[in-house]
Symmetry: C2
Subunit: 256 residues, 2 copies
Amino acid sequence: MRWLRYSLNGKISYGILDDGDKITAVNGDPLGGYEKTATRLQLADVKIEVPIVPSTFYCVGLNYVKHISTEGMTIPKKPDVGYRANNALLAHGEDVIIPADATRVHYEGELVVVIGKKARNISVDEVKKCILGYTIGNDVSERNWQASDRTFWRAKNSDTFKPMGPWISTEADVSTMQTVVSVNGAQTTCFETADMLFGIEEFISTMSGYLTLHPGDIIWMGTDGSSPNLQPGDRVDVSLTGLGTLSNRFVKQELS
Amino acid sequence: MRWLRYSLNGKISYGILDDGDKITAVNGDPLGGYEKTATRLQLADVKIEVPIVPSTFYCVGLNYVKHISTEGMTIPKKPDVGYRANNALLAHGEDVIIPADATRVHYEGELVVVIGKKARNISVDEVKKCILGYTIGNDVSERNWQASDRTFWRAKNSDTFKPMGPWISTEADVSTMQTVVSVNGAQTTCFETADMLFGIEEFISTMSGYLTLHPGDIIWMGTDGSSPNLQPGDRVDVSLTGLGTLSNRFVKQELS
């Protein structure tokens, strides 16, 4: 099942995407419960919104070997949890605004896990049943700020730096996915989810030893490879097997 | 005005605290608008809840000189923004659970700023009108994990590690406040908000150059001094001039 969060006439709702481009409108949402309605919509007639706004926005900072070596970091021995910020979330199809003083902006295509059920102290075997589904994230990063600042606040959490979507897929074989990133239609990065250092089950089970995961929380699972220096006008497409394509254009901030 | 978020008969509401211990119930909330009702309650008859659950939970990692030197860090030259996580929030009067494998748990008493109005690209002079009010935070930290892990996830964001409250005060002279922390009634730390490296106006104005602050976002302004190693059974009181006292007991996690 594919859960789409969309707006129509100023109202944000959830719907179920089927037959490729049809939406069955629902009352309710995938976390609190829902009923299908008789209303059918066309995907082209609605605005796609960020598929979920989490209570806590988690990520895995370093989870693929090639990316870690590219960034000059050492390979972590255990899963440490990172954070991103809701202000930076951006929907599929919206523009990433490159800040006026940014000079080295990269993409990072990532698998995103969406939590469906409250979880604390769960074993590796119990993780899957706490997951609602999966979507795609682009962990946009300004590399000079990432190197110069003590934290990632503007390097990774400037407004519009966290595109996510286009929808949540509840079924996916996350062990055999390819992540393919293209800039202006030409493939620039390709990697396998099978190459993660810390898999979804291990990571979430470890987290749950110290913290409670809540329905709607999201975990971005990290990236591999490197990115070209993105330029104003570039369009970045992040595709994951079975999940669709997250597409955003990059434009330069205009100072008023 | 003091905004209290409380629960009664399983329902969470906002109310206005007056005459010391009386609550005027309202319809609505301080961010979206409200109307007073004729219902009056006694503070002792309700459960105090966390005064706000933010969309993004910001903090200032290093903002007082003595604390920075105690932690062996260098004094930052510019304000870099940190993050904490909603899973860790805890109300006034609730118990901080010391994880079974934690060995060096410290308090950090902090002034908390609550954002009232959406803000982007604002000057230092415009900051005050975007603030709803102020409350108190205790940035509980496990120092061994803070030193050993790549991130602060379990060192600072284990469940119950972020007590906040008891209420939001809309008027406060933040430039002349004293923060006093006591353990089991004996004062252990005292410092002045006037000693912040980066003041509220400078910090928020800088943040707003790259990100949008939303109503309900919170910013924890950092701590000074050091803490004893807290033991199960200890009660920590954090008092800020004019804001009240945030009080929590520390207990050891019981493994089932």
